[in-house]
C-alpha cells in the first residue's frame, strides 16, 4: 500500500513537472506569426506598447463613457472623439488603425495566453484625409494624424484603470458578456486579474511624477491638456522614461510628423538631434509604453526595423489623389510661376522634386538655429536638452540591439540649436505647420494670409482655400481644443519666408502662385 502511494506520488509529481515544461514549450507558440511585409508590420506589428488585454480595451468605453466620450454620447464613440482612424468593422476586432493586437505581455514581451492591445506606428502616422462634407475620407499611411488626441486618451485610460470600484474583473466580465454575448474564459479572467493588479500598482507608483490623470470634460480643456489633437509632448515623456523625472521647462508640445520618404532624411526629430532612425523609432515606442526589455524581443524588434523599411521609401499622396480635379486643384499657370518663386525662396532649405527624385538644397538637412528661423524655441530649450545623449546611452544596456551608436544623439551648443530643414513631399498633408502645429494652413505659413493668434482645433478636414486644416474661431463639438499661440511652446512666430506678412517685398500674387505650386509637391 505504501509502495503504491509512493509510486502514485512520483507519477503525479512527474506529470506535473512534464506538464509544466510542456506549457513552457507551448508558450512560444502563443505569439502570432510575424507580419508578412514591412507594410503589415507598420499596420499590425507590435512596438512593445501593450497596454491592456483586448477584452478590457473593448469594455472600457462602455464602463467609462464619461472618459471615452467626453463630449457626450451624441458626439460619436471614442474613435470619433479622440480622433483615431476607424478600421474595418469586420477585421482586427474593429479596432482603429495603429491599435494592434498581440500575444505579448506588457513591458516584458513574454508570451501571453490572451491577446493584448497596444499602439504601433500607424496610430499616429496614418490619417483619415477628410474634406468638408465627405467625412469618410481617405486613409493615408505615413500621414500624421492631425486629429488624434493621444495624450488625452492616455489620461482617459489611466483614470479608468485607477477606479478600483468600477473596474474589477466581475464588471469587466459582465460588460464583456453583454457586448459580445459570450463569457470571458478562465484564462482571460485570471490574466486580467493579475494584469490589473500590476498595472494599477505601476500607475500609482507613477502618480508623484505625473500627477493624477484628468477626467471627463477636462480632457478637452487646453489649459489642462496642452497637447491637443495631432500633438504630444515628446521631450517631457522621453525625459520621464529615461530618468523618471518631469522636466521643467518641458519643451512644450510638438506635432506628429508625416513619415514619407524617410530615406531622404539625414537626421530624425524636428531638431535633428537623432541620427539613427531606429533610435527615433525606439524612443517613440518607449514614450508610449514599450520597455528596454521588450524592445529586444524578436517580433517587436522586427516591427521597429520593418516599419522603418516601409516608411523609408513611402511616397506621400498627390493632391489629385485625395482631392480629385476640383475647382481647388492646382492652377497650372500659377504653378509654373509658383515654381520659380519656390526655387528662389524655398529650395535652398527644402530642396525640390525632380521627376521621382528629390534634389537637395544647399541648406537641406542642416539645423537652422532657432534665432535665425525665429520659430518657438521651447522644443530646443527644455531642461536636460544637453544631457539627452548621455541619458539615452545609459538607458540602453551594452549590447542592446537598439542602443544608439556613440555620438548618435547630439546636443548642439545653445546658440546653434534649432530646426532641421527637410523635403516637403505632399506638403498639403502636413498641416498644421511648424514643428508645434501652430499654423493651420500653408497660406498662413507663407504669410499670404495673417496667422491666427487663437483658434480651435479638433476635426481636421482639409481646407482647400488655405491648403491645410479647417480650424474655427469659436469652439464647437468638433473643434474643442483652444490653440492659443501665446501659451508656452505654442508660438506661431518665425519662418517668415519669403516675407513677413505685408512686410517689405510682400507680394500677394507671388505668394498665391507659390501656394498653388506647394499643392503639387
Amino acid at each position: 500500500m505504501l509502495k503504491a502511494i509512493q509510486i502514485i506520488a512520483i507519477t503525479l509529481a512527474g506529470t506535473v513537472l512534464i506538464g509544466t515544461f510542456a506549457l513552457i514549450f507551448a508558450e512560444s507558440r502563443w505569439i502570432d506569426p510575424n507580419p508578412s511585409s514591412p507594410r503589415e508590420y507598420f499596420l499590425h506589428g507590435s512596438t512593445g506598447t501593450e497596454l491592456m488585454p483586448l477584452a478590457v480595451f473593448q469594455v472600457l468605453p462602455t464602463l467609462f463613457p464619461e472618459q471615452f466620450q467626453p463630449a457626450g454620447n451624441t458626439a460619436g464613440d471614442f474613435i470619433d472623439q479622440f480622433g483615431f482612424v476607424r478600421g474595418a468593422p469586420d477585421a482586427k476586432y474593429g479596432l482603429p488603425y495603429g491599435v494592434n493586437v498581440s500575444r505579448y505581455r506588457p513591458k516584458s514581451g513574454a508570451p501571453s495566453p490572451i491577446p493584448f492591445v497596444g499602439f504601433n506606428c500607424a496610430v499616429c502616422h496614418s490619417a483619415n484625409f477628410e474634406r468638408v462634407g465627405q467625412p469618410r475620407g481617405t486613409v493615408v499611411l505615413g500621414m500624421a494624424n492631425p486629429r488624434l488626441d493621444l495624450v488625452a486618451f492616455g489620461d482617459a485610460i489611466r483614470r479608468s484603470l485607477l477606479d478600483e470600484n468600477r473596474l474589477t474583473v466581475p464588471t469587466i466580465a459582465a460588460t464583456y458578456k453583454s457586448l459580445n454575448h459570450k463569457s470571458l474564459s478562465f484564462t482571460e479572467r485570471l490574466t486580467i486579474r493579475y494584469w490589473l493588479r500590476g498595472a494599477r500598482a505601476a500607475l500609482k507608483a507613477d502618480l508623484p511624477m505625473r500627477g493624477s490623470p484628468f477626467s471627463g470634460s477636462k480632457l478637452r480643456d487646453s489649459s489642462l491638456m496642452p497637447s491637443g489633437p495631432g500633438r504630444n509632448q515628446p521631450m517631457m515623456e522621453t525625459v520621464r522614461f529615461l530618468i523618471h523625472e518631469t522636466p521643467d521647462p518641458n519643451g512644450g508640445a510638438s506635432k506628429i510628423p508625416c513619415l514619407y520618404q524617410q530615406q531622404r532624411r539625414q537626421r530624425a526629430q524636428f531638431d535633428g538631434s537623432v541620427g539613427d532612425p531606429l533610435t527615433r523609432n525606439s524612443l517613440a515606442a518607449l514614450g508610449v509604453g514599450a520597455s528596454v526589455y521588450n524592445l529586444r524581443v524578436p517580433g517587436i524588434l522586427g516591427t521597429m526595423q520593418q516599419s522603418y523599411i516601409f516608411v523609408k521609401t513611402l511616397d506621400g499622396p498627390r493632391y489629385a489623389d485625395l482631392n480629385g480635379t476640383d475647382a481647388h486643384g492646382p492652377d497650372q499657370a500659377r504653378v509654373q510661376r509658383g515654381h520659380d518663386a519656390y526655387m528662389q525662396y524655398c529650395s535652398s532649405c527644402h530642396g525640390w522634386p525632380e521627376e521621382q527624385n528629390w534634389t537637395s538644397g544647399s541648406r537641406q538637412g542642416q539645423v537652422i538655429p532657432a534665432s535665425e528661423v525665429g520659430t518657438d524655441s521651447a522644443r530646443v530649450s527644455f531642461r536636460y536638452y544637453a544631457d539627452m545623449g548621455t541619458f539615452v546611452d545609459a538607458f540602453f544596456p551594452p549590447g542592446h540591439p537598439l542602443k544608439p551608436p556613440v555620438g548618435d544623439i547630439h546636443a548642439l551648443p545653445e546658440a546653434e540649436r534649432g530646426f532641421i530643414t527637410e523635403p516637403l513631399e505632399a506638403a498639403f498633408t502636413r498641416a498644421p505647420y511648424l514643428h508645434n502645429g501652430s499654423v493651420p494652413t500653408l497660406a498662413e505659413l507663407i504669410n499670404l494670409k495673417p496667422r491666427r493668434a487663437v483658434f480651435y482645433r479638433g476635426r481636421s478636414e482639409f481646407d482647400p482655400d488655405g491648403v491645410g486644416i479647417v480650424v474655427t474661431e469659436q469652439p464647437d463639438v468638433d473643434h474643442y481644443f483652444r490653440y492659443d499661440t501665446s501659451v508656452y511652446g505654442n508660438s506661431n512666430r518665425g519662418h517668415n519666408y519669403p516675407w513677413p506678412y505685408q512686410g517689405t517685398g510682400w507680394n500677394a500674387d507671388t505668394l498665391t502662385d507659390l501656394l498653388e505650386y506647394l499643392k503639387t509637391l
Binding site: 506520488a9 509529481a13 493579475y194 494584469w195 500590476g198 551594452p398
Partner: protein, 204 residues
C-alpha cells in the same frame, strides 16, 4: 597523491536508492520546480520571475542536502537523501541559471558583468562549476580518495555560505524566510552532529 579512506566518509559512488528515498526527494523537487515555473504566469514578466522563483526552489531543495551531509552517520538512506537532494537542487539551480542568463541578461556577457559585477559573476561561475564537478564525482567516482572527501567538505561550506550570504544578507523579501529557515536547519544539524560526536567520545 594519498588515497587513504576518509574517516566517517560516505561510501562514494555507491548509493542504494530506495523508493522512499526517491519519493522523498523527487516529489518536492518536481512540485517546487513546477511551482517556480508556473507561478510567474500570474505576472507580466515570465523570465524575470522564473529566475527569482527557481532560486527560491533551489534554496529549499539544497537545505535537506546540506543537512544530510552534516548529520552524523553514513547509513545508505542518509547517503541517498544527500545525493538526491544535492542533484535535484542543482537541476533547479541550472533552470535558474538558464533564465538568468537568457532572460534577465539576454545572453550577453556585457550585461552579466554590468548587472552582477565582476566579483559576483566570477563567484557564480566558480559556484556553478564546483557544484557540477562535485556532483560528477559523487555519481561517477567510487574510489576512496581523500581529496574527493576534502573537496566535498569545502564545496559544501562554500556553497552553503554562498546561499547564506545571498539569501539572508544580500537580498530582501520572501527569500529571507527561505534563507533563514535554511540557516536554522543547518545550525540544528551541526548542533546535533556536535552533540553526537561528544556523546560518542564519552562512550554513550
Amino acid at each position: 597523491m594519498a588515497t587513504e579512506t576518509a574517516p566517517n566518509s560516505v561510501a562514494l559512488g555507491t548509493y542504494r536508492i530506495t523508493l522512499p528515498d526517491f519519493t522523498l526527494s523527487f516529489v518536492p523537487f518536481a512540485l517546487l520546480l513546477s511551482a517556480a515555473l508556473l507561478a510567474p504566469e500570474t505576472t507580466m514578466d515570465l523570465g524575470f520571475y522564473r529566475t527569482i522563483y527557481t532560486i527560491w526552489a533551489t534554496t529549499a531543495l539544497v537545505t535537506p542536502a546540506l543537512c544530510a551531509f552534516m548529520l552524523p552517520g553514513d547509513s545508505p538512506s542518509k547517503q541517498s537523501i544527500w545525493i538526491l537532494f544535492w542533484t535535484f537542487a542543482f537541476i533547479a539551480y541550472l533552470v535558474h541559471v538558464y533564465y538568468a542568463i537568457f532572460y534577465v541578461y539576454h545572453g550577453s556577457l556585457h550585461e552579466i558583468l554590468a548587472g552582477q559585477g565582476r566579483f559576483a559573476a566570477l563567484n557564480n561561475l566558480i559556484f556553478t562549476v564546483w557544484w557540477a564537478f562535485d556532483l560528477l564525482l559523487a555519481w561517477f567516482y567510487s574510489g576512496p580518495a581523500r581529496w574527493v572527501w576534502n573537496q566535498r567538505v569545502a564545496a559544501h561550506v562554500y556553497i552553503g555560505l554562498t546561499f547564506f550570504v545571498s539569501t539572508v544578507i544580500l537580498k530582501r523579501g520572501f527569500i529571507n524566510v527561505i534563507g533563514i529557515t535554511m540557516t536554522i536547519a543547518i545550525f540544528v544539524c551541526l548542533a546535533y552532529r556536535s552533540d553526537y560526536a561528544r556523546r560518542t567520545a564519552f562512550g554513550h
